[in-house]
């Protein structure tokens, strides 16, 4: 250690130098307060021994200046004094002294004090180093968070949260609070909106949000139905999140043409549906487990449908709103939220009223920004046209004008199921994906009609009794084995108008004899039923824009329009 001795008394100084030198420290000397300050700057001593009464500048003034210069560095100052009254000693400490040593010097005590301050200095240096490391790490972490947020924003904000029918509130760093808000236009019209709330904060929440947003936007853009998207997200989260981590969510499919919503809620507080010109408020309750809890087989994708007229609104929030706390630690609670709706405000002012009510309640208390809120309004689709995200064109572009013919010969008919291949081709069209189930029904019914009734000439009325059922399949196998020179020909065409609407036409022709069919279909169910019992035609008809038999009844044309 380097020790500065400031004393105007030459013999005292000499004695101290000797004592301290013997203890193995380096010594710097000063004869007055002014010199002491100069020596501090020039020699940077570790510990200072300072006489109180000195000419030029006394010890107390010099100590004040040295402490000021030292800033955050710890430079222990031990006052040397023969003063004995308590007030004088207290004044020394007040001036910035850390301890004092009374004359005559006792070298044992002096050594003990110097040793103690050496320990304190070392500890202080360690603390400062640790503090600097922590500050540096924190800086680093904040930087990483901002980078991560930028990456997340690129993924999450490719959506349409800024659409004119949406109002929302989301903390800028919400992804690290576990809140996620996503919205995307569907290729076939309408909109998907996703409000998610991950358990936990920080990285675990942010990590789950990334693939979730990817799946949501990717699958929505490709035209998948919301149920399929939910299943996919649930499966993904289940596979990547550790047990005990999950995502509460409210997910909505808004249809502007049908003026309705389908909603799926798992683990979120009640959402509010405001209808009838703001007169009727209906809470919608969560009925599902959060996403990421159940396996794919157990997952329930059932959604509930609600009608919405123009200007009706749906409000959704994460539990951060209900659980926002004021200075006393009390929660905002659902009653206060309901109260906002009961004030008789105009529908368009409710969103701001909720925001104001919550921030007024929370006041200046530690606002934790964990409050996510969204309002969706039912509008005419035309109002949204302008904001259709152009960046997604690349993603949604699939084949739009195409046709193909696919013919199966006898051997193929015996051993091959063409349906997956046909489905795969249809599913390349974004708008058709959301109708996957419907298309599958149509194609599979028409194929089995052509095959079993057209080619194999089986009578489905056989299947109505248990014995007939077995007989039917026995007969089917016999005729299949004996089959020669047959074909089934599929013809598919798809046309689209600017990617906004389209027509898919499926023709299925078989080499059979056909059957007696009426020229034109009507929605008269009784007629349809009587004429075509056993061919599943009423079902197909209900799924198609039009269904027309041609030729001898061995050729059928189904047309499906979208949106």
């Amino acid at each position: 250690m380097k020790i500065l001795i400031a004393d105007d008394n030459a013999s005292d100084r000499l004695l101290l130098c000797k004592i301290i030198g013997k203890q193995g420290h380096e010594v710097v000397e000063a004869e007055n307060g002014k010199q002491a300050i100069d020596c501090y700057v020039k020699d940077t001593p570790d510990i200072i021994l300072m006489d109180v009464l000195m000419p030029e500048l006394d010890g107390k003034e010099a100590a004040k200046e040295i402490k000021r210069l030292a800033g955050e560095d710890l430079v222990p100052i031990i006052f040397l004094t023969s003063l004995v009254d308590a007030q004088s000693l207290a004044d020394c400490l007040k001036a910035g002294g850390d301890d004092f040593l009374t004359k005559p010097y006792n070298n044992i005590i002096l050594k003990a004090k110097i040793d103690a301050f050496v320990r304190m200095r070392n500890m202080h240096a360690t603390l400062q180093k640790q503090r600097d490391t922590i500050a540096e790490n924190n800086q680093h972490m904040l930087h990483e968070q901002h980078v991560a947020k930028a990456v997340f924003d690129n993924v999450a904000h490719s959506g349409c949260l800024d659409a004119p029918n949406i109002k929302y509130m989301l903390s800028p760093l919400a992804v690290f609070n576990g809140d996620v808000l996503l919205a995307a236009r569907k290729p076939s019209g309408g909109m998907h909106v996703f409000l998610g709330d991950f358990t936990g904060h920080g990285l675990p929440a942010a990590i789950g949000a990334m693939p979730m947003a990817e799946i949501f936007y990717g699958m929505t853009a490709k035209g998948f139905a919301l149920r399929d998207i939910l299943r996919e997200i649930n499966l993904k989260l289940k596979s990547i999140l550790p047990i005990g981590f999950f995502c509460c969510a409210a997910v909505v499919d808004l249809s502007f043409t049908k003026r309705s919503i389908s909603i799926w809620m798992g683990g979120v507080p009640d959402c509010y549906l405001l209808t009838n010109q703001g007169q009727t408020l209906k809470p919608l309750r969560s009925h599902h487990l959060p996403l990421g809890v159940l396996s794919g087989e157990q997952f329930d994708d059932e959604m509930t449908d609600h009608h919405m007229d123009l200007d009706d609104r749906l409000f959704m929030w994460s539990d951060g709103i209900v659980e926002a706390r004021d200075a006393n630690g009390d929660m905002y609670g659902e009653e206060r939220l309901q109260q906002v709706f009961k004030q008789g405000l105009k529908a368009e002012s409710l969103f701001n009223a909720i925001q104001d009510s919550v921030s007024e309640f929370v006041g200046q208390s530690q606002r934790d920004d964990d409050t996510t809120l969204i309002e969706m309004k039912m509008v005419d689709e035309a109002e949204l046209e302008l904001c259709f995200p152009s960046v997604q064109q690349g993603v949604i572009a699939g084949p739009s004008d195409w046709k193909m013919e696919y013919e199966l010969g006898v051997d193929s008919l015996k051993h091959f199921n063409p349906l997956p291949l046909l489905m795969h081709i249809m599913m390349e069209v974004p708008a058709l994906r959301s109708m996957g189930g419907q298309l599958f029904t149509v194609v599979s019914e028409l194929f089995s009609n052509a095959f079993e009734h057209g080619i194999l000439r089986l009578d489905s009325s056989l299947k109505s009794s248990p014995t007939g059922f077995a007989e039917y399949y026995q007969l089917r196998q016999q005729r299949l084995d004996a089959l020669t020179e047959s074909f089934i020909r599929f013809n598919m065409t798809h046309t689209s108008e600017n990617g906004r609407s389209g027509i898919f036409r499926l023709t299925v022709e078989d080499s059979g004899q056909g059957f007696d069919y009426p020229i034109k279909f009507h929605q008269d169910e009784s007629q349809v039923k009587n004429k075509f019992s056993g061919r599943g035609i009423p079902l197909i008809y209900s799924l198609c824009h039009s269904l027309e038999y041609q030729g001898s009844g061995n050729k059928v044309v189904a047309e499906i329009h979208w949106p």
Partner: protein
């Protein structure tokens, strides 16, 4: 806040009792209550009679207990929930995974 546990019914049933707020601060204690106990335990009971509040990390802890107790085959009962606690379990549809009384 505190977590107490004891084994009943001839060593077959573990009862875990959570007092006060059941949130992340109870995480370690709650885990300790069931980890490393006897293999004879086949039934689990979570007594929330003195639980004032339950947050989503508590739901996560319950899922962890369920997983420990055998996942889909687990026999975990949650008992004595007050209305607030019950509501939180209901909106997350936890009835589907736990017997709630």
């Amino acid at each position: 806040m505190g977590v107490q546990s004891n084994i009943d019914h001839g060593g077959k049933e573990l009862v875990i009792k959570v007092d006060g707020r059941f949130d992340f601060s109870a995480h370690q204690e709650f885990r300790d209550a069931y980890e490393g106990i006897s293999n004879d335990v086949t039934h689990y009971v979570v007594d929330l009679g003195n639980t004032s509040y339950l947050d989503s990390s508590a739901l996560g802890m319950l899922l962890l207990l369920r997983d420990h107790a055998g996942g889909d085959e687990a026999n975990v009962k949650i008992i004595k929930c007050n209305d607030d606690v019950r509501k939180i379990l209901t909106i997350s549809n936890f009835e589907q995974l736990f017997t709630i009384q």
